[in-house]
């Protein structure tokens, strides 16, 4: 896999089918689904529990707006991921172009996915810092790899945005 800046886009080239599949899973991973822990992390409380009025108002007025914001980001990412439908050669490496205008949406969606996965699996600090864990023996290991891979992409996007500003 190779990532580089190409005009007004970031290009991820030579994307193998495994990593392409992980990228395809971003929108799905960003949804808390049945995980109360993920829901709680993505929509965390704005104040201590004693501030009952504030917390109640927040749920009514702010959380729906946050939901819309997060959904809009994942939809943008979903559109970009359409490029990964390699129908003619399903196991061939492919290229993904992320327009610079979409980088904020990507950062947000990647963050949603990382936080939701980490909350669902309750990864410890030690696990999250273990970037060389292998092999991927079960779903938990794969999810940890997903969190780290998405983090790597975030880092790259951030570096490019910084260079651009």
């Amino acid at each position: 896999m190779e990532i580089c800046r190409q005009d007004q886009a970031l290009e991820i080239r030579e994307l193998d089918p495994f990593l392409a599949e992980l990228l395809r899973q971003i929108p799905e991973s960003a949804r808390p689904k049945d995980s109360a822990a993920a829901e709680e992390r993505l929509f965390s409380a704005p104040a201590a529990a004693e501030e009952t009025d504030l917390c109640a108002e927040w749920k009514i007025y702010v959380v729906p707006e946050l939901r819309r914001l997060f959904q809009s980001a994942t939809e943008t990412v979903q559109q970009d991921l359409e490029q990964l439908r390699c129908t003619d050669k399903p196991f061939a490496n492919c290229t993904l172009r992320i327009p610079l205008a979409h980088t904020d949406a990507w950062l947000n969606a990647l963050n949603q996915a990382r936080l939701a996965i980490a909350a669902t699996y309750q990864f410890s600090d030690h696990e999250l810092c273990d970037h060389y864990r292998s092999p991927l023996g079960n779903r938990r290991d794969l999810s940890l790899f997903q969190v780290n891979f998405y983090g790597f992409l975030q880092e790259f996007i951030l570096r490019e945005m910084e260079g651009n500003s």
């Binding site: 108002e57 007025y61 707006e65 947000n108 963050n111 951030l158």
Partner: protein
């Protein structure tokens, strides 16, 4: 920068909805009752802190970028707060009026940071 529109009811008053009673050709509307929840002078003047809490998942570079964007802090100041969060578990990013503090927390939640407001002691 992400800017949210706030569609929240004013904090100072709670309104009970006017009840419309349809009775034959005439419709009577009961006067809404307004209960005033007066904020004391102290409550209005007490500054609120915007606090960001540590989170092992969010990247340090991402948190720094968010602080720069939301508060307009220069990179050095944003990094100082990020490191404070990282080492001490929390950092006070801003203090001031409650409405503004709430707006900041809302923006920080839009970036998925763990942020809260709290009264200064």
């Amino acid at each position: 920068m992400v800017v949210f529109s706030m569609r929240r009811r004013p904090r100072e008053y709670t309104y009970s909805a006017a009840t419309v009673i349809l009775d034959g050709p005439r419709a009577a509307v009961e006067t809404p009752t307004i209960q005033k929840q007066a904020a004391t002078k102290d409550e209005i003047q007490t500054p609120w802190n915007v606090v960001v809490h540590n989170d092992p998942v969010n990247l340090m570079s991402y948190v720094t970028m968010v602080f720069q964007r939301v508060f307009g802090y220069p990179r050095e100041r944003a990094e100082k707060h990020m490191l404070e969060v990282h080492h001490n578990g929390r950092s006070i990013l801003w203090s001031g009026l409650r409405e503004r503090a709430e707006l900041y927390v809302q923006q920080l939640h839009g970036y998925l940071l763990l942020a809260t407001i709290e009264k200064t002691t």
